[in-house]
């Protein structure tokens, strides 16, 4: 299989991204590889069989309509264990509080009132850590374990360890898990998913939420039968990026992805705008929740949050979410849009509250947005009107079409294709699936110019390597760390641009080295928590293949 693909692949690579190449038709064999490259996180043998059987068109149509394809039951069983995934921010605040919430609880001094003994023990440990900030003592378990127990735990196999831990009462078990004797990482990687999550919770409760998000993202990319949907979930998250580690986003990112993005990835773009603009995650990340009219700021002067108009969200809404940078709006438009969104805020953000419209903070004056007059006296509708104006603006159709074509065709997509996709967007008032269908039926998509023209992002590279080796992924903890080394820490892109789908972003020395090292580690079974069935004698050759230049493209 491998040899055959290499022969097929090498020649067209000459035309990748090349304008002449967009006019050269792909061979039938290459069509299958190309569809798998672009609509999945890397081809597997099962996919090849399925697409060959169904035919390319039918297979693509099913990817565009994932509800018609049953999801992989193995994946669903895994996701069901990640209990923070379906939680509201409020539930996360209660069960997996982030450091700032813990800190507040500690400062309020009401620890004794916490009923759950495990949570109380966690908070007390956290308070202790805050106070001392000293290095942990030599045998931290001395206080909770007898010397025999500590010894047994240290030398135990995973199964024995689990049995030993199960004998302890919950608070004590939590304390032990928080300070595992001997090689925390090692124990963590050698444990099953349930124990691993418990261990993370004992040490840093909110890290469970991050674990679950990253585990789900990675496992979906590797195992989902809805591959295109997962690619789009990643695409739209980057398009409407938020940063996990900014304050309350440690509680809100899960619901943001689940409710504001995932239901709409193949739906209507307007629903994405409506959902993201009103989600606390975005309101907080781009500061709109503090934005208020100058008048309201004057009234509230002296108060901490009373700072006046904040343009951050308005600017990124125009620049990154809809029209694109320098595509027909002025600084005046940014300010006017910001005025329209004043009052779009969050109730009780630190308690995991939701969207609220604060009439007192809203600027009730008349606004002028991109030549459209928005009458004085409006409220929340002012922002909704802005969204309508942006949906109808030709720059938005053009920008969204360009970004999708950039992800699926080439870094510099052929303008004629972008034009046709933009037309579809305008005609259908923002429907995403028809726009994708136009692209997947276009001669440009099925050309040698598009074939292997895209550099994989690190996340795509890792997922495709796992799929190519049919890896058994028990733990994604080490994989998530690897992704940070590769330059793409999941859910932690600080800038609102999200991770770029274009090659220039990913070609730097350290990241390229990291790709080679990851490939070698994976094929020789040195990534903790991940197993591949590759004979030791083949490990090197497979590592060179996955770390080599061919595999970095798709």
């Amino acid at each position: 299989m491998l040899r055959r693909t290499v022969v097929v692949l090498l020649l067209p690579a000459l035309f990748a991204g090349n304008p002449v190449g967009f006019q050269r038709k792909l061979s039938k064999e290459a069509r299958i590889e190309h569809a798998l490259n672009r609509l999945t996180f890397g081809a597997t043998d099962a996919d090849r069989a399925s697409i060959t059987q169904l035919g390319v068109e039918k297979w693509i149509d099913l990817q565009l309509h994932p509800q018609r394809v049953p999801e992989n039951p193995t994946l669903l069983a895994r996701l069901a264990q990640l209990d923070s995934l379906p939680m509201t921010a409020q539930q996360i605040a209660d069960k997996y509080p982030p450091p700032n919430v813990l800190k507040q609880l500690v400062r309020s001094g009401n620890l004794a009132q916490i009923k759950d003994p495990v949570m109380r023990a966690r908070l007390e440990r956290y308070a202790e850590r805050l106070k001392s900030k000293k290095a942990e003592t030599a045998d931290p378990n001395a206080a909770v374990l007898t010397p025999e127990e500590a010894r047994a735990l240290r030398g135990a196999s995973p199964a024995e360890r689990k049995a030993l831990l199960e004998k302890l009462d919950p608070a004590k078990r939590d304390a032990v898990l928080a300070r595992l004797p001997g090689g925390r990482q090692e124990v963590m990687n050698g444990s099953d998913l349930a124990l691993r999550r418990e261990m993370i919770a004992a040490q840093q409760p909110n890290q469970v939420v991050y674990h679950d998000l990253t585990d789900a993202k990675m496992m979906r990319a590797v195992q989902s039968t809805h591959q295109l949907e997962e690619i789009l979930a990643d695409f739209w998250f980057n398009h409407f990026n938020v940063f996990y580690d900014k304050g309350i986003n440690r509680m809100f990112t899960s619901s943001y992805e689940r409710e504001a993005l995932r239901p709409h990835v193949l739906g209507n773009f307007k629903d994405l705008l409506l959902a993201t603009s009103q989600h606390p995650s975005m309101l907080f990340y781009l500061d709109n929740w503090t934005s208020m009219s100058e008048e309201a700021a004057k009234r509230g002067r002296g108060k901490k949050k009373a700072q006046g108009l904040n343009e951050n969200y308005a600017r990124e809404l125009l620049e990154l979410h809809t029209m694109g940078v320098d595509k027909g709006y002025t600084q005046k438009d940014v300010t006017e849009v910001a005025r329209c969104f004043t009052g779009w805020s969050i109730t009780a953000p630190k308690l995991g509250g939701g969207f609220s419209f604060n009439q007192r903070a809203h600027d009730r004056g008349e606004k002028m947005v991109l030549g459209h007059r928005i009458a004085a006296g409006g409220g929340k509708e002012d922002g909704l009107q802005v969204i309508d104006i942006l949906m109808a603006h030709p720059s938005t159709a053009q920008f969204i079409a360009t970004k999708l074509a950039q992800r699926f065709v080439a870094d510099e997509p052929p303008p004629a294709l972008v034009e046709r996709m933009a037309k579809s967007f305008t005609k259908t008032k923002g429907e995403i699936t028809p726009m994708l269908a136009v692209m997947f039926a276009s001669p440009e998509f099925w050309s040698e110019g598009a074939y292997k023209a895209k550099m994989k992002m690190p996340f795509e590279m890792v997922a495709s390597a796992l799929r190519a080796t049919n890896a058994q992924v028990d733990s994604t903890v080490a994989l998530t760390q690897q992704l940070a080394t590769l330059g793409q820490p999941l859910y932690k892109k600080v800038e609102p641009t999200g991770y770029y789908a274009t090659a220039e972003e990913w070609t730097n020395s350290a990241a390229l080295l990291a790709r080679m090292n990851f490939a070698m580690a994976l094929t020789s079974n040195k990534v903790p928590g991940v197993k591949v069935a590759i004979a030791a004698s083949d490990a090197r050759a497979r590592g060179l293949e996955l770390g080599g230049p061919e595999f970095q493209r798709h």
């Binding site: 500061d287 600080v494 800038e495 350290a510 070698m520 061919e550």
Partner: protein, 389 residues
């Protein structure tokens, strides 16, 4: 000590990469300036670090956190005693301080403030690249390690169009499992132009760092020593790269943990001890080379003038910066002092800013790195030089 000699230069060209890269010739001629940027993440309490003991209002704000015995600098400001290693550098005029400096943006969010300081564009989130990357001039033949960050990730400040590498440690910057040679020829023979040229730069950097790493290195720190902390070890490796004369122009490292809301004093003691011991060792290690080096520290904002109820301080506004180097106008606290009386405070709670951080960084960029095009480095702002160099 390892320097690039003609012979080393020849051995470096034997990688199967063809001609000697242009940067090597330039690097070997020496005389290259280096700027080292140290980011103190979490917002340092500048009022406890360079203490304005001469300001009448100071003691009243700090019933438990007042620095009782600061090391007197000029009769008005004093160093926190945990910075005792800085005193000789101050006395020999190698260390300058700017007090009441920071970013004019009003945010008190760590995330936003760090982002703004690293992008160099306060108030503007969309900026793609970092000021330190833009501070590098556009050169065709730059060293593959002209810009190095110590750590796993490239910090925001160094991201951008100029090649910059993140190096966790010199010894790990390589391809493992002896696969390097094979990868090198695979990439060299690839018809993928982008990957081919990046891999060439990469392997040049790898080989260069490998050859530097092969030499024994004993820091010339005399009676001082680099701390075993992550920061101390980062500085040691930066010193190594500088002494190798391999064309490094900027280096970046950071220390986290300055967000001292609760029980500040012991935490600050540890952090300041690490900072000053590290930089004093670095200074000693580099000896006369400090003429070509400038080190600057920065932190995203300062902390409240008044201490809080937990023997800590909350998020504030202005802070102080340290600038260390042979060419520095040291032994002075630069910048105007805005005063600590309630009406002099920013929003009646924080030290006000009298020097924009870009004034300091801009001056260093122009005078030390020789990049006069500050309109590109700090778009939308014209830095005012404060006479630090």
């Amino acid at each position: 000590m390892y320097t690039l000699t003609r012979r080393n230069l020849l051995s470096l060209t034997c990688f199967g990469l063809g001609m000697a890269p242009g940067w090597l010739a330039r690097a070997a001629t020496g005389g290259k300036k280096t700027m080292v940027v140290v980011f103190l993440r979490g917002a340092m309490d500048g009022l406890s670090v360079v203490t304005p003991f001469g300001d009448k209002a100071y003691a009243g704000y700090r019933p438990t956190l007042r620095v009782a015995e600061p090391l007197d600098l000029d009769g008005f400001f004093g160093l926190n005693p945990a910075l005792r290693n800085f005193k000789p550098l101050w006395d020999t005029k190698q260390l300058a301080i700017v007090q009441a400096t920071g970013s004019p943006d009003t945010t008190r969010s760590h995330f936003d403030a760090q982002d703004y300081m690293e992008s160099g564009t306060p108030g503007r989130k969309g900026t793609r690249d970092g000021w330190l990357n833009r501070a590098l001039t556009v050169e065709k033949a730059a060293s593959p390690i002209r810009a190095v960050a110590l750590g796993a990730n490239l910090p925001r400040a160094l991201r951008g169009s100029q090649a910059a590498v993140a190096v966790n440690s010199l010894s790990s910057f390589k391809v493992r499992d002896d696969a390097q040679g094979d990868f090198m020829s695979m990439y060299a023979n690839s018809n993928d132009k982008v990957l081919k040229s990046t891999s060439q730069e990469t392997f040049e950097a790898v080989k260069l760092i490998e050859s530097i790493n092969k030499q024994n290195y004993s820091p010339a720190t005399g009676s001082l020593a680099y701390p075993g902390s992550r920061f101390g070890q980062s500085l040691l490796q930066i010193a190594r790269l500088i002494k190798a004369g391999a064309g490094m122009e900027v280096a970046f490292t950071d220390i986290t943990g300055w967000d001292t809301h609760i029980n500040q004093a012991p935490q600050l003691n540890n952090l300041l001890g690490d900072l000053s011991a590290g930089l004093a060792a670095f200074h000693a290690d580099l000896g006369s080379r400090m003429q070509d080096i400038v080190v600057v520290t920065m932190s995203e904002f300062g902390r409240t003038a008044r201490e809080n109820g937990n023997r800590g301080t909350d998020h504030g506004h202005a802070n102080c910066m340290f600038i260390l180097g042979g060419g520095v106008k040291g032994g002075q606290v630069h910048g105007e002092w805005p005063g600590l009386e309630p009406e002099q405070l920013y929003e009646n709670r924080d030290l006000a800013i009298t020097t924009d951080f870009r004034d300091v960084l801009g001056e260093l960029t122009a005078k030390h790195l020789g990049n006069k095009n500050l309109a590109t480095v700090f778009p939308g702002y014209t830095p005012k030089f404060r006479g630090i160099l």
